[in-house]
């Protein structure tokens, strides 16, 4: 559908980036602050949903040429796969570990292996939510 709403389009252009940034911020801060893979993924997908609402599906697809079904599958694969990797390291299935690194800009940063698992969760959420909304809206 073609909506010619200048105000909405202009606002969206800025807001989407705020939402995306917020989503990533939520995802990364999840370990110690409120946030995490699930909520991060939901915020990210709400940004995509907003884009699809304001512009039409074609336009958005040209800008973001992802197959969201594949993203969902990749997410589930990451979540399950990260569990199997820990078995190869001799710990239990889905066992996690973390280590503090001294990075140049961020200073002392703690990087935990759980982030891979969380990324899997986030990707699945994004993929599934967008897939569902797209399939329903395309089905005219």
């Amino acid at each position: 559908m073609e909506i010619n709403d200048v105000i909405l389009k202009t606002v969206t252009r800025i807001v989407v980036f705020i939402i995306l940034t917020f989503g990533i911020e939520l995802f990364l801060s999840g370990h110690h602050e409120p946030g995490g893979g699930f909520i991060g993924g939901l915020v990210l997908s709400s940004a995509f949903v907003l884009l699809y609402l304001v512009h039409d599906i074609e336009t958005v697809h040209n800008g973001i040429p992802f197959d969201f079904k594949k993203i969902a599958a990749l997410g589930a694969f990451l979540a399950v796969g990260s569990g199997i990797v820990s078995v190869l390291f001799g710990t239990d299935f889905l066992g996690q570990g973390s280590r503090v690194f001294d990075l140049p800009i961020f200073g002392e940063t703690e990087i935990s292996s759980v982030i891979v698992f969380e990324a899997g969760v986030a990707l699945t959420v994004v993929g599934v939510v967008v897939t569902i909304i797209l399939s329903i809206s395309e089905d005219v």
């Binding site: 409120p34 946030g35 997410g75 569990g83 897939t131 909304i133 399939s135």
Partner: protein
């Protein structure tokens, strides 16, 4: 021994690559690639034969679900070695044969994926030490054989046969699983070796022990096509012939035999086990051979002959099982000899039956028919095929100089000696077993002769077949020739097999008998003039006479009870259950969402109220609850207002927006109650679902007042109020009733254990990561479900694909 574990997964691993490879080359050569798998595995296994013959066994454990005692333990001992060699050895020959048998137009990629899957599953069955793992592989053989039997799925008969075999073997498999669980309850372990090791301390009078025994036997009998479960095997012949040769001569049907042999140290020595296995085996032997004679389709004939031969092996294992309890000298020798003969016949049967299946496949392939009435005189056109058929059939009939003779003699010896023991208390049974065995052997002789003589001798009936008879391509003959060489070779050097394969297998079956050296019989072709030789002579004489006069007595098959057909019973039950469930399903699956809500909520009400009564206490303790502030009262008031206005909303849009109000109010409530995580999630979920709602709303029909019946309204009202009240009561009760200790202390040191300050996230990602992982997978499945429901729905007017 990690290598055995890798061997199990090697076929699966290769099966993964077959579709990609097939896409690229699109030709028969894919078969050569697949052929490497069983050949490599065969060589690998064969390299362990000397070590296993020396008394070694190899185990390897991968810890899997330690807390439940389910580990992936592989076990390579004498018994699994025999089966492993059969699976890979006959597997190699079958794949070689299939390369020439299947035409390039077939879906070869699919075929070899199924075949490799099946091979891996079979290896898993025989090498698993853990019964749970064994069960998984067991059902995997059922599934992969289902796919193989239904390979030509456009034929109705193929689908029917596949379904039948799967229904029967899976039912048996589930019974077997129940048996395994009972055994676990008794022994406290899932490991077969540990079960056998702790058998001395097992209470054998426990009723569970007998239940487990019967259930496990059910699994074995269905898989090995024992009476009355044999009815699936003839129908499974709809599969391509290489599959029949593989599944129904060498592997799948032998899984039941393997199971019985494997559990002999646990259940052997029990009278029930002895009687059930022996009698079922003997009767199956008779029934199969008796019915084989009247078949006109060569493959059906072979199917019934397989049933009967499996019965023979089963009965030998039954007789041999008494060796577990008996430790006195002479009797013990008889029993162990029976088991030895059973295992020996197992190998022999695979060789001659495999060759015969391939011969029938060649005849079918070259002449386009397997009907005996249309065949004849093929000997002069196909001398090589005829030779293989002759060797295979004569071996099956139990004639020298072929390996079937040796094991058949040992079978006669076992039944004759059994009848002389006091063990069988029932006098009639003592006579019956050898007599039935002998009669069955006469029929075996007759149908073996039918295969050779009706097909290959006599006048050629070229007017009844479409094609000119000639020898098949040489590649198709290699596999059957190898098998017939084995048939003769085993006859000449039987003790080689006895020493390297059968003796170590006996060690596995009878771990309680330390000194097996004296118990393993020496196989000899000439064993003097004794009852069993006289029985064989009788079989040949009577069998020949009956073969010649077949036309005169074939009316026997028309007599009442003999005509009685188990297939009809199966079909009747299948039809009844299908119709019954169809009627039932169409009655409650109305297609209206509101009806499904009624079911769901009624169920919820029933369970909740039932649960409340069961607990018997309805305590509501509000003293520990926090005080409710003004803010919360305001939010609650807004929520109630929004909720109530949905009921009277005039348009759908209003209703959806009001629902959104409800959702956002909950989010605000979470903020007030200082749960930022929940509030955040709630806001985003609410946003996304509102968008979804609005999208769906676009496609919904006009919103209008529905004229529902007064009773329906009342019922719906009652359900709504009941659900609301129950949820409220449950929520209030939660604080007052603590049935279990709180789990929250477990997460108190979340930072120390998981290194995360956000407790919600450490629970999701670390403590309960398994739940989260499965939730993610469920989410994915739901997404795929929605996608396929919407995108792949049948076009209007397109007919539903159903049965």
């Amino acid at each position: 021994m990690l290598i055995v574990l890798l061997a199990i997964f090697f076929p699966f691993f290769m099966a993964f690559f077959v579709p990609f490879l097939y896409k690229r080359i699109q030709s028969k050569h894919i078969g050569w690639f697949v052929l490497l798998v069983p050949i490599l595995l065969f060589i690998l296994l064969a390299s362990f034969v000397p070590a296993v013959a020396g008394g070694a066994h190899f185990t390897y454990t991968v810890h899997w679900i330690d807390s439940l005692g389910i580990n992936f333990t592989t076990n390579l001992d004498g018994l699994s070695m025999i089966f492993g060699l059969l699976i890979t050895g006959v597997g190699s020959l079958v794949i070689l044969y299939s390369i020439y048998y299947l035409s390039e137009r077939e879906a070869l990629g699919r075929f070899y994926v199924y075949l490799l899957m099946f091979m891996g599953a079979m290896l898993g069955v025989v090498f698993s030490d853990n019964v749970m793992v064994l069960y998984v592989f067991w059902e995997l053989t059922s599934i992969s054989s289902f796919l193989l039997i239904a390979f030509w799925y456009h034929r109705k008969q193929s689908r029917y046969g596949a379904k039948k075999s799967m229904l029967i073997t899976v039912t048996g498999g589930v019974a077997m699983l129940a048996g395994f669980l009972m055994l676990h309850a008794l022994t406290g372990t899932f490991s077969l070796r540990e079960m056998v090791g702790g058998i001395g301390s097992l209470d054998k009078t426990d009723p569970l022990f007998y239940m487990a025994m019967i259930l496990i036997l059910l699994g074995a009998f269905t898989k090995s096509a024992q009476f009355p479960f044999h009815i699936w095997l003839p129908d499974a012949m709809e599969a391509p012939t290489p599959v029949s040769a593989y599944l129904h001569s060498a592997t799948m049907v032998k899984a039941g035999i393997y199971l019985v042999a494997r559990f002999t140290p646990i259940f052997g020595g029990e009278a029930i086990w002895f009687y059930t296995v022996t009698c079922v085996g003997i009767f199956t032997l008779f029934w199969g051979s008796f019915n084989a004679v009247r078949q006109t389709d060569l493959k059906a004939l072979l199917a019934y002959s397989t049933i009967s031969q499996l019965g023979l092996i089963m009965s030998l294992l039954g007789i041999g099982s008494m060796a577990v309890s008996d430790s006195s000298g002479s009797n013990l020798l008889i029993f162990t000899a029976a088991t030895f003969a059973g295992l020996f016949h197992l190998i022999n049967h695979s060789t001659f039956k495999g060759a015969l299946f391939m011969v029938v496949g060649i005849v079918d392939h070259e002449l386009g028919t397997r009907d005996i009435r249309r065949l004849g005189g093929l000997m002069s056109f196909m001398p090589l095929t005829f030779t293989v058929a002759l060797i295979g059939s004569f071996s099956m009939a139990g004639l020298p100089p072929f390996n079937g003779f040796l094991s058949k003699e040992m079978f006669f010896e076992a039944v004759v000696q059994l009848s002389q023991l006091d063990l069988v208390s029932n006098g009639a049974l003592r006579v019956l077993i050898p007599v039935v065995a002998w009669i069955a052997s006469v029929f075996t002789f007759i149908y073996s002769m039918i295969i050779v003589f009706k097909t290959f001798l006599g006048m050629p009936k070229s007017d009844r077949v479409d094609k000119e008879a000639h020898e098949p391509p040489i590649g198709m003959l290699i596999a059957p020739f190898v098998l017939s060489f084995l048939v003769v070779g085993i006859f000449i050097f039987p003790n080689l097999i006895g020493r390297f394969l059968l003796t170590p297998a006996m060690v596995a079956v009878f771990p309680m008998h330390r000194d097996l050296k004296g118990l393993v019989p020496h196989i000899s072709a000439w064993h003097g003039v004794n009852p069993q030789l006289l029985m064989t002579v009788g079989v040949i004489v009577v069998g020949s006479l009956m073969y010649v006069s077949y036309k005169r007595w074939k009316r026997v098959y028309g007599i009442g009870p003999l005509r009685w057909n188990l297939d009809a019973v199966y079909n009747f039950f299948l039809l009844k259950t299908e119709n019954g469930s169809n009627t039932l399903t169409t009655r409650y699956m109305t297609g209206y969402l509101r009806d499904y809500f009624v079911y769901i909520f009624s169920f919820f009400i029933a369970v909740a109220i039932g649960g409340l009564f069961w607990i018997g206490s309805l305590e509501i303790d509000l003293s520990k609850d926090a005080a409710v502030t003004v803010n919360e009262y305001i939010i609650i008031a807004v929520m109630m207002l929004a909720g109530l206005s949905i009921l009277v909303a005039k348009s759908r849009k209003t209703a959806i927006l009001l629902n959104g109000v409800l959702g956002y109010s909950i989010a605000i409530l979470f903020v007030v109650l200082r749960a930022p995580d929940l509030a955040l999630t709630q806001i985003v979920v609410e946003t996304v679902t509102t968008v979804l709602f609005l999208l769906c709303f676009y496609f919904l029909p006009e919103w209008k007042r529905e004229d529902t019946k007064r009773t329906t309204k009342l019922v719906n009202g009652f359900i709504a109020i009941a659900v609301g009240s129950i949820v409220t009561i449950l929520a209030l009760m939660v604080q007052g009733n603590k049935l279990f200790t709180s789990i929250s202390f477990y997460f108190e040191d979340a930072y120390r254990l998981a290194g995360g300050k956000n407790i919600v996230n450490t629970i999701l990602g670390d403590f309960r990561a398994f739940d989260t992982m499965l939730e993610v997978v469920v989410l994915l499945i739901a997404g795929i479900g929605v996608f396929s429901l919407i995108k792949l729905k049948a076009k209007k007017g397109e007919k539903d694909i159903g049965n």
